[in-house]
């Protein structure tokens, strides 16, 4: 029997009103503007854009404000919003070699062409709480220095290519289809294009833990941070009606090239292999973790033994999406009254049967003792 129960509308309405009041907080304190959030909490905004899989800083800021700073809830809001919009098509692949670089470092080459550019980083800070910031002290202007203008900054991985010491990521034929998780559900085994799409929108904490596990020996890949870069790239879109690509403006991305040891196989000589990370916005920890996990997921293709969670595509790709994960975990708090009622009846029934068996066994024992 299925019993539909209605009710709670008034309670829900009032609960949302209460939440809105709590979200606003003390009204004597000014409300935060979206511009304040996108300017001053850009790394939160970046995370919401990456995991919400939608590049729009203002919307991400609204999501953060609406969710009271719950970044997973904010990513959820972004995913829901995107379903209301038409899809115009696919961009031309962005070219990160032509990035306007704001940060670019390599842990493998000290003197790489273009140099080590630290850019705006937390690295080398002492992680001491800054009470001057709490007091809103004036921020000094950054230093400037003369520079040599270069349109193209070669990737570290291209330098190793010269000697054939590293595998090459070659572009396939132009019309090779590209998988899209937003169009068809994930099936296994998943090709690298789908894996990278999944990881790019995957939860930073989950990928960080998995990446860390590979460093600690669960599917060792012996990584070096070949290169990390942050900056703006141009986005181009082929316009059918015009017959040529039109520029749409620039977007901020973070990229990581991980270089990994590889012993070689029957078909490939010993050489370095690669893991790749790319996210919209500024997300350095995320791209590094993504590159570690990407490399581990290539275990099958490289003929490596698969014995760790991070090498298991189905495990990684099925659990990386925090919007899906939170949906399934949090649905447990919704009413399950009928489900639970049937479980209750079942357990009463099996307990009764169990008791009857116990009683019967007891009677038997008593009978035996009496004999």
């Amino acid at each position: 029997m299925y019993v539909a129960v209605k009710g709670g509308e008034k309670a829900i309405r009032n609960a949302h009103k209460l939440m809105a009041r709590d979200r606003r907080g003390d009204t004597k304190v000014p409300s935060v503007s979206l511009k304040q959030l996108s300017e001053q909490l850009y790394l939160s905004v970046s995370r919401v854009m990456a995991e919400g899989s939608l590049y729009d800083a203002e919307l991400a800021a609204l999501g953060i404000k609406q969710s009271r700073g719950d970044l997973i809830e904010a990513a959820f809001l972004m995913r829901a919003y995107r379903t209301t919009l038409p899809r115009f098509g696919y961009s031309q692949p962005i070219d990160t070699a032509r990035m306007l670089i704001r940060r670019r470092i390599s842990a493998t080459y000290k003197d790489l062409p273009g140099g080590q550019l630290l850019g705006p980083t937390f690295d080398y800070t002492q992680r001491l709480l800054d009470f001057k910031l709490a007091a809103d002290a004036e921020v000094p202007s950054p230093e400037t220095q003369t520079f040599e203008k270069t349109e193209v900054v070669p990737r570290v991985t291209d330098l190793l290519n010269d000697e054939g010491l590293i595998e090459v990521d070659e572009a396939p034929a132009p019309d090779t289809p590209v998988g899209d998780l937003t169009r068809e559900p994930l099936t296994f085994p998943a090709a690298r294009d789908l894996r990278l799409q999944n990881l790019a929108r995957g939860d930073e904490g989950f990928l960080l833990a998995l990446g860390y596990s590979t460093q600690r020996g669960f599917g060792r890949t012996h990584p070096f941070a070949g290169e990390i870069r942050l900056g703006e790239v141009e986005l181009d879109f082929f316009m059918e009606e015009l017959g040529f690509e039109v520029p749409l403006g620039t977007m901020t991305v973070s990229e990581c090239q991980m270089i990994n040891q590889f012993k070689g196989s029957a078909t490939a000589p010993p050489q370095f292999t690669r893991g790749y990370g790319l996210v919209p916005g500024q997300g350095e920890r995320k791209v590094m973790a993504m590159a570690l996990v990407d490399r581990s997921l290539r275990a099958h293709e490289l003929g490596e033994e698969i014995d760790s969670p991070t090498q298991d595509q189905e495990f990684v790709l099925s659990h990386s999406d925090n919007v899906q994960a939170t949906g399934f975990v949090e649905h447990l708090k919704l009413p399950h009254y009928v489900d639970f009622q049937s479980e209750l009846e079942l357990i009463r029934k099996v307990r009764k049967e169990w008791q009857e068996k116990q009683d019967a066994a007891g009677q038997e024992l008593l009978g035996e003792a009496a004999q």
Partner: protein
């Protein structure tokens, strides 16, 4: 010219792409300001009203390999036609409908010999200049964070 990996096209198309790139990069406020400065009020009809939608952004594995879908981005686009039938296209990242409408009108006028020079001098040149300055500022600030390695000589 913009740093881009666009395919080679005729000089006319390349120049139009360049103009579109400058307009797309400009802020809504900047476009609105230059549009006012231009002071042209053309009659036009809207072929495709300004519409907000999504473009799926693609990257390449390893930066050079097979394309993959990175994330979507909000994009607004619009098409207008001037009285003589010249169509103008406006499109940019973000959700500003006024910006892409004005961009489409500028794109249409740019194609007319009577207006091109004033569009180039009053719209594109100042926008390109402010973009170039902003880019130079970024490069100069980042250059100041470049590491100068030196070797410590120990002993004699």
């Amino acid at each position: 010219m913009r740093a881009s990996s666009l395919k080679q096209h005729s000089p006319e198309i390349a120049a139009r792409q360049n103009a579109m790139g400058i307009l797309a990069k400009a802020s809504a406020q900047q476009i609105s300001d230059v549009w006012k400065t231009l002071g042209i009020e053309p009659s036009y009809s809207v072929i495709r009203p300004a519409e907000i939608g999504l473009v799926m952004v693609r990257g390449r594995s390893g930066g050079t390999g097979a394309p993959f879908n990175l994330c979507e981005a909000t994009v607004t686009r619009c098409v207008v036609a001037l009285e003589d039938g010249t169509t103008g296209f406006g499109q940019a990242l973000g959700r500003d409908k006024t910006k892409v409408l004005q961009t489409a009108l500028i794109d249409a006028l740019w194609q007319l010999p009577a207006h091109r020079d004033s569009i180039e001098s009053k719209v594109l040149a100042p926008l390109a200049k402010s973009q170039e300055l902003a880019e130079q500022e970024t490069r100069a600030e980042v250059a100041a964070t470049k590491v100068d390695f030196f070797t410590m000589v120990r002993g004699e």
